[in-house]
Amino acid sequence: MTGILRIALPLTVWLAGFCAIYALQGLGCSRHWPEGLDRRATLIAAAALFVLVQTLILLAVLYRPSGFRFVQATATLLAGAALAAAVWTSLPVLTLEICG
């Protein structure tokens, strides 16, 4: 199962991070958002953390390789894809109005 988990982990983390950023944006536009807390700065910080986590996962896959070549190659590919996906899907926080 370790091999399967290595393959599944990077994009699963992407999905969790993607949903968390979307949830944070929803919270940012709700009545519960604390006064004075900058929405964009918070979202950018969260997106940066998201990208950092995906980078760390890629590095972990590279520097703590699986003993099984196929699993290692697939996990590396998917960790790279997850990092690219995290960057691409986080880009809107830099450009668009948060609640408009």
């Binding site: 929803g26 099984f68 590919l77």
Partner: protein, 830 residues
Amino acid sequence: MTARRRTALRLHRELARIWAPDPRLRGWLTTSNNNDIGRLFLAVATAFFVIGGLLAMLIRAQLATPGSAFMGPEAYDQVFTMHGTVMMFLFAIPFFEALSMLVLPGMLGTRDLAYPRLGAYGLWVYVFGGSAVIVAMLLGLAPDGGWFMYPPLTSAAFSPGIGADVWLLGITSIEVSAIATAVEVIVTVLRYRAAGMSLSRMPIFAWYILVVAVMILTAFPPMILGSLLLELERALDWPFFQVENGGDPLLWQHLFWLFGHPEVYIIFLPAAGMIATILPVMARTTLLGYGWVVAAAVSLGVLSFGLWVHHMFTTGIPHLGLAFFSAASTLVAVPTSVMIFAWIGTLRQGRVRMELPMLWIIGFFATFIIGGLTGVMIAIVPFNWQVHDTHFIVAHLHYVLIGGYVFPMIAAVYYFQPLLTGRFQVFRLGGVAFWLVVPAFHVTFLAVHLAGLLGQRRRTWTYDEGQGWEVLNLVASVSSFVMAIGFALVLLDVAINTFARARGPRNPWGAGTLEWAAPMPSPPYGFASIPIVGSRYPLLDDPRIDLKIARGEGYLADTSRSRRETLIVTTAQGAPAQVAVLPCNSVLPFLLAVVTSTAFLAPLVKAHAVSVLALVGVVAVALVWVWRLAPARMEGPVDAGHGAMLPLASETPDPPGWWGSLFLLLADGVHFGALLFGYAFLWTVAPNWPPPSFLRPDVAGPALALGGAGALALAPRLAVRAIGAGRGAGPAVGLAALAALALAGAAGSVMLERPDPAGHAHDATLWILAGHVAFHAGLVLIMLFYLALRLVAGKALRIGEARIVGLWADFTAATGLVALGAAWLPGVLA
């Protein structure tokens, strides 16, 4: 006759006896063999395809001319709702599940799927649920709110009949079947394979279907939750989607599309798996970029969960939220393209032969790529706003679903027909059918695209003259009938070839995967011995491997134990690890399906007492089921052949039931996550929040919850330790039962504190959270009751059994604490 041939014949006779179904009609009700269940599944799914197709013809007949009097709006609403519902739920998913049941064990080199009885149960639940939906339609009681059933249109106020209930209860019961099959497929792919079949040697279809099965387990639960909430709102007025009482109809859209978008990929990926299997064989080569294709399938499976809001671009969600999902939607084009280019590269490196399966794959390429491109168009928000709910969307989804699913599935049927029937296809009628279907499809849906671009709305029963849609609709309707004739010819062709063609040779396509090493048609036992493989294409390495298997030169060729055995391997390397004993014929799956379906469907006719009785029946039949499955005595390791002494799976700490429970709990966990999401969504977004008051806990409730959860986590571990040390596990079982009761008591205290769940969505949500805890505590109690019965009967408990209960207990304890914490926390903070 040579000695080797005599050995093969003897083995065949003995295995045929051991694996034989019961005779006559009883055989159909008691069989659990993948060949029988798969064929039945396939036949029923095909029947639903025909029904769905007839409904499509009714739609096109109605829209052929403006102001048509063919159908009134009430009938039209039922027809288009049922067309979508039948095609998505009753045809598409069961059809690929059926094909998978038929060919997957052969591809993996195992004798059957991991849980044959679960497969049979899934079939019968599907048959009963699907039939109920169709009968309701024939009685004029079909749902009419569209296949995605948006409230408030589908609420009791605007859909007062039982049509919406038919959808919510009937389709949810069918989803039980899909989840059962998904668990079965995952455990089979991960554990039930040929010796030596490591992850990198798995047939590519196994990877695809593994991804799809995990997707089913994670996509269906939000939908099941949504159906439960909407049914509770309709039946008991719990206001989850009523704005005036703290609900929000957008919650339904989120829950539905959390399922609905992955659903598209759940349908597409098995078809892609078939293409990746068939196309290299047709090109007389092997798949180019196997690892890349595996990675692309995994990527597509996960990315598809990040797209759900792109069905909700016009609901007023802030632009930034739309941009997230627009970005994610464009992203899926990347793994899809990787697959497409891998397939094109495979064609380039091989020498293509234009057999019928290949022809349909070319039809797929021509159609699906266009559907994919229009998909990228509607991923772009401004364009989406323009064409939302127009016939452009109808055309896009048909390009994706027919081009991306139906065409490859027809290719698969033609490709595997020799394997399933033992007869070889003759390339005649099927070719004519192809040239009717594919061009007619493109004419139909090109016209529908254009009508959508000109502004024709979907789900409107008619239209006025003079809007420029008349010719387009007439062309679409005429060509759709040509397409229907083509599909009818496909069915006729398959039927003729199934019953009338000459017997063909084994492995007629020259494929390299193991399913073609089995006799044709595949006998109930599949392989006379479990194959030993050293590469991804064992038949290309050793074209005589089929003879070696038949002569018993693989694993488990010894029939002296006279029971249905197959091999369990380690997940990554495929090394032989355990021997699984599969169950014999039984009527229990059929009976369990009867009571399950009765429990779901009886409320439709207000027979609530019958539903409760049926639920008791579910528990009783399930207990008999597991009681009979439990082996009478411990055997220790058995001879699996090749000098390997392997333990029986039921005597290991991780028996098949443990693996099945693990993946079922994945689905359960997603269901629970979706419930928390719904709670958070209402708390954050719903207009009439906060509720009049939050629940403030006293000391007793949290104390019961903490004590119960802690003891529930501890007790199964004590039981495992006691069994391992040879001591009695009775005290641990008793402690676990007390713990489950305490947790249920804590959940009950929440309900007692909030006696009116119909008052506000907050209180209704608390009841659902507490209901989750009470339900799971009840499940654990039933499992403990089973263990107690075994102890009373003087049977020794197995570590595996205790570990299975431990999994459920851990889940109940963990989610129970979170659920009750979520119920109490706002009150504490307030």
